[in-house]
């Protein structure tokens, strides 16, 4: 279904050579700015023997050192800021899973640029000034809430800033305000639909037609489940605080990968082991350089997200290149008994047992006194899977466990639990609970 053209999207259709010209100018500018103003990064570049003047073509970006999440922690809180504090108008911070959070700072120009990308993301999903958009991303230090909020307003649409939580009121407002679209995490929207059904509200009968879901990886099966349960069109939106927040990439109406706002975020795909840049089409780790952000530029930031750049042009006519939907974020990865495990692998095991829906689940990692690690996977039973015959229930539990063992190569304790037994998260779904004392 073609979306109405919105002038805000003009930059999505720049001829490639013009786009590359802009990218190169911006890259050269940002590297000089970074070199002159961030001692940490200047030292990194000096160590590699590379000067800002060495960046003569876009390809020369490969001469530059990478930035890692660890670098943000090591320079906490403001060590990577490239402007004086009086130029910084906003701070955001992400929850640090291991102690210190990651802090990001924005100049007014940075906020405007972020807002512009977010507005274009919503426009790609057909949102116009006629729409009422409920923003259920958390407001606060998390970039999701305010990022989406600014974009909705910039587009001239009406924002309902519900933030996360209080699901019953969210459903009431959605119905009473005639909300057309929603921004939230996919798992929260599933929760919202379930709650609506409990309250006797038929989401399908409401005016809501579009959802922008991100901040956590989600599967194609989750998309089908959401679309079937709610009748809305879903758009995968990609972003991360280190870049700006939501609105780094977005699906268009063809839903075949996410367009990256390349004039702002320069993407590369690298081999995560060697750091070597891979050609378009090959799968590897996504790396971004923020070429239009001055408060805290990120040079070749390693996202830990695994994907590929899709080489073919998109039928929508946007010249912005696309990446595949993120199937695995290495942040969610955990290591147990020496094996790297992605929750998405466990999800695929569930779906190979029963493809109708992805169950709610929780992974708990514990360590025995003798040092051996255990993985407990609790899976909520769906009524369609339930049988009064104990043998069938034991078989179901065994099937889950066999599939998991087949896919991961290690054994997990699988336990089927009652529907609703696993607490729902109202923000980013937390699937993995690592109770091992990994600090020893």
């Amino acid at each position: 279904m073609a979306k109405p053209y919105n002038p805000v999207s003009a930059a999505d259709y720049l001829p490639r050579h013009l786009l590359q010209e802009i990218q190169l100018k911006r890259l050269q500018n940002i590297i000089k700015h970074e070199y002159d103003n961030v001692p940490f990064y200047r030292q990194r570049m000096d160590e590699k023997g590379v000067k800002p003047e060495d960046i003569k073509t876009l390809k020369d970006i490969q001469l530059l050192p990478f930035t890692m999440k660890k670098d943000l922690r090591d320079t906490y809180p403001f060590g990577l800021f490239a402007v004086p504090m009086n130029k910084i108008v906003r701070l955001h911070a992400s929850s640090g899973t291991t102690g210190k959070p990651i802090v990001v700072g924005y100049t007014q120009e940075d906020v405007d640029s972020w807002t512009n990308c977010m507005a274009r993301a919503l426009a790609a999903g057909g949102v116009t000034s006629n729409d009422i958009i409920q923003n259920s991303y958390g407001y606060g230090l998390f970039t999701g809430g305010l990022g989406a909020h600014n974009g909705i307003e910039a587009l001239g649409a009406t924002v309902v800033p519900t933030s996360g939580g209080n699901t019953e009121r969210q459903i009431m407002l959605m119905r009473d305000f005639g909300v057309n679209g929603i921004c939230c995490t996919p798992s929260y929207f599933i929760h919202l639909c379930e709650k609506a059904a409990e309250m006797g509200v038929n989401v399908k009968a409401l005016p809501i037609r579009v959802g922008f879901f991100g901040a956590e990886p989600w599967t194609q099966e989750m998309r089908q489940r959401i679309e079937e349960a709610s009748g809305i069109e879903t758009f995968d939106i990609y972003g991360l605080s280190e870049m700006s927040g939501p609105g780094v990439g977005i699906e268009c109406e063809h839903h075949c990968g996410l367009h990256i706002f390349e004039e702002t975020f320069y993407p590369e795909i690298i081999d995560p082991d060697t750091g070597e840049v891979l050609p378009d089409g090959e799968r590897g780790e996504l790396v971004f350089t923020t070429i239009n952000k001055f408060g805290m530029p990120m040079i070749r930031y390693r996202t830990r997200d695994l994907t590929r750049i899709i080489p073919e042009p998109c039928p929508c006519g946007r010249t912005l290149r696309r990446i595949d939907r993120i199937s695995a974020r290495s942040d969610d990865m955990f290591i147990i008994r020496g094996v790297n495990v992605f929750p998405s692998q466990i999800e695929s095991a569930f779906l190979s047992v029963d493809a109708t829906a992805l169950p709610h689940y929780r992974i708990t990692l514990t360590r025995r006194p003798d040092g051996l690690d255990d993985m407990l996977i609790e899976i909520e039973v769906r009524e369609e899977q339930f049988s009064d015959d104990m043998r069938k229930m034991n078989e179901l539990q065994k099937k889950f466990s066999h599939e998991i063992e087949r896919i991961l190569g290690i054994r997990a304790m699988v336990k089927i639990v009652q529907p609703g037994a696993i607490p729902r998260s109202e923000g980013k779904a937390k699937r993995v609970f690592d109770l091992r004392n990994t600090t020893k």
């Binding site: 009524e383 339930f386 009064d388 015959d389 104990m390 089927i416 009652q418």
Partner: protein, 141 residues
């Protein structure tokens, strides 16, 4: 001739039985029979009630996974050997019993509740045998 039995999936943890039972109690559902099967991980609560529809609704509203199945109720004499006699018949007919438990019928006599793998086949065979099959009307009379 069948009786409808309601099964509920419950976690194997303290307090897990209270939630479904109190939900049924609040809805005013009277239980004629109740039986719990459990493994180390979970349990299946099986109840027989006259008010299946109400019970089903209230349990689903409370987010339980529930299922209605056909079971056969067979009345036996309250004397030693009555149960083994009926089990001998069942065995000789090659019927597969998934599970079985005891209830008390309105007559005061014991009623055995059988869940057969193939309920239709069991009903057909047991009808011809010398068995007192209790219908739903008789059970709740």
């Amino acid at each position: 001739m069948y009786l409808k039995q309601l099964s509920v999936f419950v976690d194997n943890k303290p307090g897990a039985l209270y939630a479904p039972c109190s939900a049924l109690a609040e809805a005013g559902v009277n239980l004629s029979s109740i039986f719990l099967a459990d493994t180390k991980d979970f349990g299946i609560l099986r109840v027989i009630t006259k008010d299946n529809e109400k019970a089903l609704n209230v349990l689903r509203e409370n987010n339980f996974a529930v299922k209605l199945t056909d079971v056969l109720a067979i009345e036996i004499e309250d004397v030693p050997g009555a149960l083994s006699k009926i089990l001998k018949t069942v065995e000789s007919m090659g019927l597969d019993v998934l599970y079985m438990y005891a209830a008390v019928g309105t007559s005061g006599k014991p009623v055995m509740i059988f869940r057969f793998d193939d309920a239709d086949n069991a009903l057909e065979k047991l009808r011809d045998a010398d068995c007192t099959i209790v219908s739903s009307e008789q059970f709740f009379a």
